[in-house]
């Protein structure tokens, strides 16, 4: 199973959900497959889960999907106890764990290539509905269910390390423009102004 295959399945399922992504190959791959205006690809490691949590807390009627990676999550493990205790039912976190720092020129193994089990870490932090998915068929069963349920889900997807993202054109949209596209989409779908202040 590759991350790109998972994304190819997941992207058409996105309708009004908000999708927060982190960095590296997944930003390039998701940006290539999904033109959804509710995408917020924050382009940094260690921030997607926190930003997604903030969105989920203030928009309890919206589903928030967080696309994380093993490297990014390992940088921000402090998110897990906070996520567990706040327990937002409208958040689904997919962690695409390829066991390497795949954005680097020579992919070095991450801790999950060794002894670390991110689903077990999440479970230990207090997140009840955790799962590790190891094949595409299981992903295709679990992902739609996670989107439909009103419960916090934390799904670690064990994927093969690939370099697909290096063959895809990188997003040309500027990050500020990307942010404002998201904010305008949210304002339009929520029927209110998101950013305040005098014009």
């Amino acid at each position: 199973m590759t991350r790109y295959e998972c994304f190819e399945f997941l992207a058409p399922l996105i309708t009004s959900q908000l999708v927060v992504g982190s960095l590296s190959g997944q930003r390039v791959e998701w940006g290539h497959l999904s033109q959804h205006e509710g995408n917020l690809l924050v382009a940094s490691m260690g921030n997607a889960l926190g930003i997604g949590l903030g969105l989920a807390l203030v928009l309890p009627h919206r589903k928030v999907i967080v696309l994380e990676s093993d490297g990014s999550l390992l940088l921000s493990l402090y998110n897990l106890p906070t996520l567990a205790n706040l327990n937002p039912p409208n958040l689904v976190a997919f962690v695409f764990d390829n066991e390497v720092y795949g954005g680097t020129r020579i992919s070095q193994p991450s801790a999950t290539a060794g002894k670390t089990d991110l689903a077990a870490v999440a479970r230990g932090a207090g997140i009840e509905r955790t799962l590790t998915v190891r094949d595409l068929e299981t992903f295709k069963q679990e992902a739609p269910q996670a989107l439909a349920e009103n419960v916090l889900r934390f799904i670690v997807c064990k994927v093969d390390p690939t370099v697909v993202h290096r063959e895809i054109q990188r997003p040309t949209i500027d990050q500020q423009e990307h942010k404002y596209r998201f904010v305008r989409y949210l304002g339009k779908t929520e029927g209110r102004q998101i950013f305040l202040g005098r014009g």
Partner: protein, 212 residues
């Protein structure tokens, strides 16, 4: 228990217990009346400042606050938690406090992150890549420990306190140092207006009377 030579710190250590009216009344008979009066006045002043700060945040439109507990401004937390105007979120690390506040701001709630000065160091990466690069308005409510006005200053706090403003300046984060409650509401409003105007984090550094 309470002898004439008992140091003041022994009495002040009991200050939280003074919340209990019965205990307060009993202690009143045990302690010197003047000392009780001084302690009560100090307590009231802290509460008044904390209330003024929280009132200022509410009037400025802040409605979402992340926090990692610290000492100096700690009285604002229960006040905000009791106030339905605020969604108050405890965090494990100031870095995620900034990211979660950013998510709330991007979701349409004017957001703040309350932290000790050390939190600026811990969250500097998040402030840079989310607050500055992505461009998200967040009000940083910072207990300015280790500053000249910090009444709790010691070797523990002085060094990180000395470097706090250079860190903010290197991140190009606008800041204001507040030493007392004079004009507090207007200054908070000004900071919130600034964060909305530049769509970036803005810091309020609290020292002096806020560090009792």
């Amino acid at each position: 228990m309470f002898q004439g030579s008992t140091p003041l710190s022994a009495y002040t250590a009991l200050l939280p217990g003074f919340q209990d009216a019965l205990l307060r009344r009993n202690l009143f008979h045990l302690l010197d009346k003047r000392l009780v009066f001084i302690l009560n006045v100090l307590e009231i002043m802290e509460e008044q400042l904390a209330k003024k700060l929280v009132d200022g945040l509410r009037e400025a439109g802040i409605s979402f606050v992340t926090f990692l507990p610290e000492t100096r401004l700690s009285q604002i937390v229960p006040l905000m938690q009791q106030d339905p105007s605020f969604q108050v979120v405890p965090v494990a690390n100031e870095a995620e406090g900034v990211s979660i506040a950013a998510g709330a701001a991007l979701g349409g709630k004017p957001a703040a992150s309350y932290m000790e000065g050390s939190g600026v160091y811990v969250s500097s990466y998040n402030l840079l890549v989310v607050g500055k690069r992505l461009g998200v308005p967040i009000l940083l409510i910072v207990a300015y420990y280790g500053s000249f006005g910090d009444k709790r200053n010691s070797f523990l706090y002085a060094l990180p306190g000395i470097h706090l403003i250079p860190i903010l300046e290197s991140l190009d984060i606008q800041y204001l140092v507040l030493e007392n409650g004079d004009n507090l509401e207007a200054q908070i409003k000004g900071a919130v207006r600034m964060m909305h105007a530049i769509k970036q984090p803005v810091a309020l550094l609290f020292t002096g009377e806020f560090t009792v």
